[in-house]
């Protein structure tokens, strides 16, 4: 079985969302033979779910905007935990990446004079998100997909990578996976590997994430010896659908609020004015009158509190529901119907209109939506060098949601799509540079390959007693209940115990049926990744004894100066998860100055 199929490339990119596609394009354009390996069909990655837009200081709508303002918004949104250099590169390069998408065929909505239109989003001082209605991710993935195919990137679809391969010195030199269709194994030899596998939301019960988001790349990197950082920082998007039950967690784009939608409690009161933290008070409107004028005049008025960063809004909604002021199905009301005409709503938010109409039988042009927080995004991830996206393992690069640092402890809406293309490009360039400078065909250890195959097929032959679906369900409940939006030490410790139990049970999974397109088997393997990242998240959450961004501790409310400059670093040492607190990189003075200036 081990010698059946092998492909050799200069660069192998794992994951075909925005970051993976952009990395593959860059590597291919640099002349590297490039493979793109993905768990689903090409073009189905979770990037298609991104709705609102791609943040870039193009200054098309507000000439006052520039990279420094974007940088500042991003750092403040991340509660200053961001890797400053990544945030700087991101703000500087995002406009070029957006224009490049246009050059590859993307059709963004236009301004009256024919340039790219930009929309408002939470935490962004100016209207900054290039968008296509509310299906920007789809537009982006198609443009990248067509580009990748047209320049000869080799695409390997419905292939799950199980483990990375490493040479004697520890450098990554390949990967082993299997075809979902046949269950047959395949070995990729590579001079450099890029991980671009996205997030880990499927470890939680209510999530916007698709089945693929099981933390595979973070786990692959961890198993290869890489560091993960700030895994406690999980973003709960404030507005997911809460009804019907089967649609619970589905994303309702922040574009609804960017385009004027407001949050109301069951009595119709705009409650966000009660939740303006001191950190944002200077830049947030204090009255409805001021807030409503901001849409047309961003210079003289401050932004509405509905457009505070996501962590703030999610906590506010959580509090309202807990206080008994929520909507009938345990959320709050998101009202665009009273703010925009039906025609505008259908034009600006066609997918949302469609989604509510079809799944909940609700017409959002006449009726407020019911929304509540849902697990959305991992700010933490694989630790990378800011300029090259190289991980702490030689030959291994990482970009997109799988990587950590860029977003600090909370990501601003719209900064994800731009992250994907900015750092996808850099990861692809770095990987290609290493590959093209290196020697010829890599030597792969057959013993390593055999071991991976033996491990992966174990579940098929196992005489165990556990079922992967049941273990997954318990993992989701554990993470939802004990490592959710509001955390407390006693529950986090419980979660850690439970994860040990679940890992033991997961190793006893037995799979019914054979290796051919068998979702029960795929889930057993995905569970390994989800358990690994859940452990890192829980461990980091226990140790960060403060509340910051996407990590809220009921027992440690508020920032702690002790943790302000600390990254939570998790790695595997001798099979054990080990956490160290390490100082984050310090911003140079000329950038630090931006934060001393008057906010408003």
């Amino acid at each position: 079985m081990t010698d059946s199929e092998r492909h050799d490339f200069d660069v192998v990119v794992i994951g075909a969302g925005g970051a993976g596609l952009r990395a593959a394009i860059e590597a291919r354009q640099a002349g590297a033979r490039t493979a793109l390996v993905c768990k689903s069909l090409l073009g189905k990655a979770h990037t298609v779910m991104a709705e609102g837009g791609i943040a870039a200081a193009l200054s098309n709508v507000w000439p006052q905007d520039n990279w420094e303002v974007h940088f500042r918004d991003t750092m403040r949104g991340g509660k200053m935990l961001n890797n400053w250099r990544m945030a700087q590169i991101h703000a500087l390069e995002a406009p070029d990446r957006v224009l490049e998408l246009e050059e590859w065929g993307a059709l963004f909505d236009r301004t009256a004079d024919g340039r790219i239109l930009q929309r408002d989003f939470g935490g962004h001082r100016y209207a900054r998100l290039a968008h296509v209605g509310d299906r920007t991710g789809l537009e982006m993935i198609r443009a990248l997909q067509h580009r990748a195919v047209s320049i000869g990137v080799d695409v390997f679809m419905e292939c799950k990578i199980v483990r990375l391969l490493q040479d004697d010195a520890g450098a990554v030199n390949g990967a082993v996976g299997f075809w979902r269709e046949s269950g047959g194994f395949v070995t990729f030899g590579a001079k450099a590997v890029v991980i671009a596998t996205g997030g880990l939301g499927k470890a939680w019960k209510f999530t916007t994430n698709s089945w693929e988001c099981t933390g595979d790349g973070m786990a692959l990197a961890l198993w290869a010896g890489a560091d993960l950082i700030d895994m406690e920082a999980i973003q709960f998007h404030p507005t997911g659908m809460v009804w019907p039950p089967s649609a619970r967690g589905l994303l309702v784009t922040e574009g609804v609020r960017g385009d004027g939608g407001v949050l109301k409690d069951r009595d119709g009161e705009r409650f966000m004015f009660n939740y303006i933290s001191p950190f944002f008070a200077a830049e947030t409107a204090s009255s409805i009158e001021e807030a409503d004028q901001w849409y047309g005049n961003k210079v003289d008025f401050r932004r509405p509190p509905e457009l505070l960063p996501r962590d703030e809004v999610a906590r506010a909604i959580n509090s309202e529901v807990k206080a008994g002021r929520g909507s009938p199905h345990g959320g709050v009301f998101l009202d665009i119907a009273s703010r925009r005409t039906p025609e505008e709503i259908r034009r600006l938010l066609p997918s949302m209109y469609h989604q509510f109409k079809q799944l909940a039988d609700i017409d959002i042009t006449t009726t407020p939506m019911e929304v509540g927080p849902t697990c959305h995004y991992a700010m933490g991830g694989v630790r990378v060098e800011a300029d090259t996206e190289e991980t702490t393992v030689t030959g291994l690069y990482c970009a997109g949601e799988a990587a950590g640092g860029m977003h600090g402890s909370n990501r601003l809406g719209g900064n994800s799509l731009s992250d994907l293309v900015v750092f996808g490009r850099r990861a692809g360039a770095s990987a290609a540079a290493r590959a093209l400078a290196g020697p010829g065909r890599v030597e792969i250890s057959e013993a390593q390959v055999s071991e991976v195959v033996r491990h992966a097929t174990f579940y098929l032959d196992n005489e165990g007693t556990e079922d992967s679906y049941a273990v997954h369900r318990e993992l989701q409940e554990t993470m939802q209940d004990l490592v959710g939006i509001i955390r407390v030490e006693t529950e986090l410790l419980q979660a850690r115990e439970k994860l040990i139990e679940l890992a033991a049970r997961a190793s006893k999974c037995t799979v019914e049926g054979g290796p051919r397109f068998n979702p029960g088997w795929h889930l057993a393997l995905d569970l390994e990744s989800m358990l690994a990242v859940s452990n890192c998240t829980t461990l980091s959450a226990i140790e960060r004894k403060e509340s910051r961004g996407g990590h809220t501790r009921d027992d440690y409310p508020g920032f702690s100066p002790e943790f302000e400059n600390i990254n939570m670093v998790t790695r595997l040492v001798g099979g054990e998860y080990v956490l160290t607190k390490e100082p984050k990189p310090q911003m140079p003075d000329e950038l630090a100055k931006l934060f001393a200036e008057e906010v408003h």
Binding site: G105, R110, P328, N518
Partner: protein, 308 residues
């Protein structure tokens, strides 16, 4: 409009009155390329479910190896295409409440593609066609490094870009649904949409018209609108993509002859309305020859699709 301020503290019952009291019977196709059969699964109904939810429940409780392809469960990725009671649809966007539950609900894989396993089909044909589409080739940017396009000039392109590549249109297109051999020289509705989007892109500089005629087989389409009917994104595939594409193709290829013909007969060119005649149930019996201005689409006699 005013928000509903009625305090509604009452939690809705877990099984509302409109749910059927008896168990659902789901009749799923199980098997592979070598054959298979329908298997019935019974399970209690739950509130607000879509077909994919029920399939997932069967997977989690009764048939853990049931193969089904899905990703987003929100109608945005186009992975979970199947035939629900014989009707091509996305399983994630088909609410159970829209289906009669007094009889088994049948779920079968898309028919136009080879079966991999259970509800999963081999859709690689589509990815092969995609590779053969001549890529976007934009004009240079304006001197300031930007491109300018009016919104009105990209509205149509944006409609085409809504395509989620669920391939339901390819599945129902009778040119390939029952004629595997046509896949060799026929791109199908999804890729006519793609080609139309490129041809109508304000920045594109490449002329693909001859290629579309010769290599993409646009002449095979006899505009029965089956593709338009099943499009979950409600793209007007036939009217907005295929017919204009056919017109452009014949403009490029046939215009001089048509011009000569009109000179000789003295007949005016047909109006757009005449070109785009609406098909009804008898559509498949109609010859494709009348489509477009100036003569039949270009394919060899005896090589055409099932409709002709």
């Amino acid at each position: 409009m005013a928000i509903d301020t009625e305090p509604a503290a009452v939690t809705p019952p877990s099984v509302p009155a409109d749910l059927p009291a008896q168990d659902l019977v789901m009749r799923l196709w199980r098997g592979d390329a070598n054959g298979g059969r329908f298997v019935d699964y019974s399970l209690p109904p739950q509130e607000g479910e879509v077909v994919l939810d029920v399939v997932h429940r069967i997977q989690a409780t009764q048939a853990p190896d049931l193969a089904v392809r899905w990703n987003c469960k929100a109608g945005k990725c186009g992975s979970c295409s199947a035939e629900v009671n014989g009707k091509p649809a996305l399983m994630c966007m088909t609410r159970m409440s829209t289906l009669p539950t007094d009889q088994p609900i049948t779920i079968s894989p898309m028919r136009a593609f080879p079966i991999m396993r259970d509800l999963v089909t081999d859709v690689s044909y589509n990815f092969e066609v995609a590779k053969r589409i001549p890529a976007f080739r934009p004009r240079p940017r304006d001197p300031d490094g930007l491109y300018r396009m009016a919104q009105v000039d990209i509205d149509r392109g944006q409609e085409f870009h809504k395509c989620i590549e669920c391939f339901l249109c390819q599945n129902v297109c009778h040119v390939v649904r029952d004629h595997e051999e046509n896949k060799l020289h026929y791109a199908g509705p999804r890729f006519f949409v793609r080609l139309a989007e490129l041809e109508m892109h304000p920045l594109d500089t490449l002329d693909r018209r001859d290629y579309i005629r010769r290599e993409m087989g646009i002449g095979y389409c006899n505009i029965t609108k089956c593709c338009t009917e099943v499009c979950p994104e409600e793209i007007h595939i036939t009217d907005n993509a295929i017919i204009p594409l056919k017109e452009r193709v014949v403009d490029a290829h046939y215009d001089p002859i048509a011009w000569l013909g009109r000179k000789i007969t003295g007949r005016p060119a047909p109006s757009p309305a005449e070109q785009a005649w609406e098909f009804t149930g008898a559509a498949h019996a109609q010859p494709p020859a009348e489509v477009g201005r100036g003569g039949p689409p270009a394919f060899e006699p005896g090589e055409h699709g099932p409709g002709a």
